[in-house]
Symmetry: C2
Subunit: 327 residues, 2 copies
């Protein structure tokens, strides 16, 4: 029921996923009276999609903690409970991010050694892809929690994104070790003592430069950085169009540009990489962009499947148990 185009695109994405990824079973959680006809319309009546009724919906603007407590029969609460009860291996939602974080943390609890969950996002860089954590789950973290994010991102990069020995950078306002707030400096020290492949501070300009495979930051800064990225791309398109339209040859350029821009916007849309994994909870949870397309939802289901099959959380627990990593 979550996302700007729910439940239509969610159902489309689910149908595409069970067709493309054999052995996948999707449980659609939500308002039966709306889902059933749409599923029919999507021409799917096989055994790989089932329905779990949930009578309530947590809206995008609702307060996460309150709504999760109050709406016990919302699709988000019912969905995370399916994972808790072992009836599902993973949960995906393109709905209220804060509510997903809250419901997942309450229902699934955290992995041993993890103090807070973090949202990671796969972003394209000029060198390939990078993983940014946290982009909004934890806006007032402690240094050790950022280290825990670094360790989980390292495992994610290795086992889900197939990148051995990923480099880790700490988002700061300068490259020098002496830069930043006391919070960032303390975090720097923890990373330096860890056995991660820590390359030091990275800056806002390195978000897309590929300087480090992983970028660690607090959820406030990460959220602003992510939203600024989206904003620049949109503004750039508007500025370029205006400029191209101001000369006759430019009109042709604008036309040629149109498809490239859609391609680019897809490239930087994290949904295309399968949504954003919520790392640190004892279960597999993926959060989708509100604007998730059917393709993005299909990819999110693929990534969930990979996280489950490749035993991501077990690998995290293993990594945390290596003392030298955390001290």
């Amino acid at each position: 029921m979550g996302g700007d185009h729910a439940p239509e695109v969610v159902i489309e994405g689910a149908v595409a996923a069970v067709k493309e990824f054999p052995g996948t079973h999707v449980i659609l959680v939500g308002d039966e009276s709306r889902i059933a006809p749409l599923l029919k319309k999507a021409r799917y009546n096989g055994p790989d999609i089932s329905l779990q009724p949930a009578s309530e919906v947590i809206e995008m603007c609702e307060s996460p903690a309150n709504s999760v407590r109050r709406k016990r029969d919302s699709s988000i609460v019912v969905g995370t409970n399916l994972v808790k009860e072992g009836k599902a291996d993973a949960f995906f939602s393109a709905g209220n991010t804060g509510a997903v974080v809250c419901a997942a943390t309450l229902a699934l609890r955290l992995l041993p050694g993890i103090e807070r969950p973090g949202i990671a996002i796969v972003m394209p860089s000029v060198k390939g892809i990078s993983l940014i954590i946290d982009v909004g789950a934890n806006i007032d973290p402690k240094p050790v929690q950022l280290l825990q994010y670094g360790i989980m991102a390292d495992v994610y990069m290795r086992y889900i994104l197939n990148k051995p020995s990923p480099s880790v950078g700490l988002l700061n306002i300068g490259e020098e070790e002496s830069k930043g707030t006391d919070f960032v400096k303390e975090t720097y020290e923890l990373f330096e003592k860890s056995s991660l492949n820590f390359i030091g501070n990275v800056e806002g300009r390195d978000l897309f430069s590929g300087k480090s495979d992983i970028i660690v930051c607090d959820g406030f800064v990460g959220n602003v950085a992510l939203k600024v990225s989206e904003s620049v791309a949109e503004a750039m398109q508007i500025f370029l169009k205006r400029h191209l339209k101001s000369n006759p040859l430019g009109l042709l350029g604008a036309l040629l540009l149109k498809t490239s821009f859609s391609k680019f916007k897809k490239d930087i849309d994290y949904a295309e990489y399968g949504g954003a994994p919520l790392l640190g909870v004892d279960g597999v949870v993926i959060i989708g962009h509100g604007r998730s397309s059917a393709k993005a939802i299909k990819n999110a289901i693929r990534v969930s499947k990979e996280e489950v099959e490749r035993k991501f959380n077990e690998k995290v627990i293993e990594a945390l148990s290596h003392k030298e990593r955390v001290a």
Copy 2:
């Protein structure tokens, strides 16, 4: 002596400024043996440019506080002292930002009622321009200091950028009043009680949307946001080129795009708007991007002149004296 292309472009910019803005006198501060021949080469020998020797240079990577204390004959320290001594009305540097902030604060002191200086930056938005403060002078501010930034930005927007009754937004991770850290929530309350045209929280995506004329944030977040913007534009150019080159018509598009991109990059380069004013110090100080072009330096001189002539600092003191604004 500061900036990637100093002293060449600084001299070019100064020569352009005195020619274009009658009544302007520029004092070039730095290594005479390098500046004098370049000034000759720039074919200027009029009375409107003079030279103030300074034997030292604070490099980009040096620690601000230490270098300002140690290098008393650096161009930055000598330059800010000229303002302190009343021998200059304004100071511009494209050098080490931290050192400029530090030297200016030490030499000029702060305006009464201002606890910390802040760097403001003019950015293009799809609706016109917006002013973001702070982008790096104060990375661990108190809420009341952000309010002081808001008041100074309001005055700047009115008297320097000619925008009456500018709207003020607080950079946060969501629009709702309940969003954000305790620090941001406390700041929100102060703004709401002020007589500024406060429109509430704005998000990272509003950096270019023009939702508010002024965006207030702490220097850490502001710095990351600014650098992310620069980074996205560069990455986007690379991504688009790659995509355009993958089809034959695209090659033509790439060609047409080239000038538009340079135009766009200039549009979002704050240097084109005359550098970034350091607000809150008792004097006029403008900080240029390290990559400042001669045109950017010329514009910075124009803006300095406007700040002086329009008595910006007096207007700030006036605004701060209105009790209802700060309580």
